[in-house]
Symmetry: C2
Subunit: 217 residues, 2 copies
């Protein structure tokens, strides 16, 4: 029997950063940066969508444990489903999970079965496209643009499009499947106002890692 506080470190290795949780303390390190200086409490449990990042973690912490194989998800999706998406869905029987990272993944789970999902580009990547099409399409992004009012300036026209490209495909599936909507990820908070009855779980991955490790005990 385990008593007292079980002390450990969790790590989510994404495309652009290591995201650590050591006890209650969270921090990020770019995957480009060194982690040699880190002094972390072991055991370290991690997931990774980034092979180079994983190698870097294991060089410094050879005992770190990849928990990917412990994630059981009944899914229609081919084996190419990213481990971060599978873990995000873990523990949900009926939900739409939207993770706002450098890409925005949308996954649908109904009756304990992952039905599938889709992958939108992240906000930052969408913002980069426009000046790339034409110099005339430089703009100041309006974060909280109203999607019910038609734009009348270039700044509005592009900001509207960026947010609508993300919101409308999610919304149409929200209406179609009528399941609870869970939003997570760095940029997710800014999009909460576009949806009714949304649950914001900024630490979904760590929450589900803990849940998984708890179930393993």
């Amino acid at each position: 029997m385990i008593t007292g506080v079980y002390s450990m470190t969790l790590c989510d290795i994404g495309n652009t950063s290591f995201h650590f949780l050591e006890n209650e303390h969270q921090f990020k390190v770019s995957v480009e940066d060194t982690i040699e200086h880190l002094n972390l409490k072991e055991p370290i449990y991690y997931i990774s969508v980034n092979k180079d990042g994983e190698k870097k973690l294991l060089r410094k912490f050879p005992n770190a444990i990849n928990i990917e194989d412990k994630i059981v998800l009944k899914s229609n999706y081919a084996t190419t489903l990213g481990v971060d998406r599978a873990l995000g869905c873990y523990g949900y029987s009926d939900a739409i999970i939207v993770d706002f990272g450098s890409a925005i993944t949308v996954d649908i789970i109904a009756h304990n079965n992952h039905l599938g999902g889709f992958i939108l580009p992240g906000v930052e990547k969408l913002k980069e496209i426009y000046p790339n099409i034409s110099q005339k399409l430089t703009f100041d992004y309006i974060e909280k643009i109203n999607l019910h009012t038609i734009p009348t300036t270039t700044n509005e026209a592009i900001s509207y499009a960026i947010n609508a490209m993300i919101v409308e495909p999610i919304k149409i599936n929200y209406q179609r499947y009528n399941l609870p909507l869970i939003i997570t990820g760095e940029h997710g908070k800014k999009f909460l106002n576009y949806f009714n009855n949304v649950f914001y779980e900024p630490n979904l991955i760590f929450k589900n890692m803990k849940l998984l490790l708890e179930m393993e005990k």
Copy 2:
């Protein structure tokens, strides 16, 4: 009084190409390429969203006539509305005009008034983003992906997102305003099946240039 066939050349100078119509013959030349070899029937009437392209046309054809100032459009939009969008709306009292070019412009006209619009990135630009986020997001684009079935492979997940990012923001406005939907532009044909009661006008800009010149007589 003008009798017989009025012979002339029309030119639409876009971000990436000169689009010519000489009598019934259409052709495109990249804005990067030379037009020195062209032997075109004058008068030449044109519009341009591309200053360098316009200079190039005028070097070769100094008598070419910019018709921008002839386009009268009652609009809520600031003066930054591109001339191609204004011309696309010309002659419509109530419509949603969608032009599928290197950017996709969506404009709404009701009761002879341009209410506003928004600017989505073109399909090609959206396709370029994904491998740019992560090597894992390389994919084969499925052009006619079904937007009513949730994807179960990465190819589907990305193709679905690309098409949904374009279709859903247009559809939501189509439902909101309940106006005839007019689609034009190179890539527009591939998107016709996603909409009900859509009018395809591949030559909308030339049609409206002719209409404008006709009204001027």
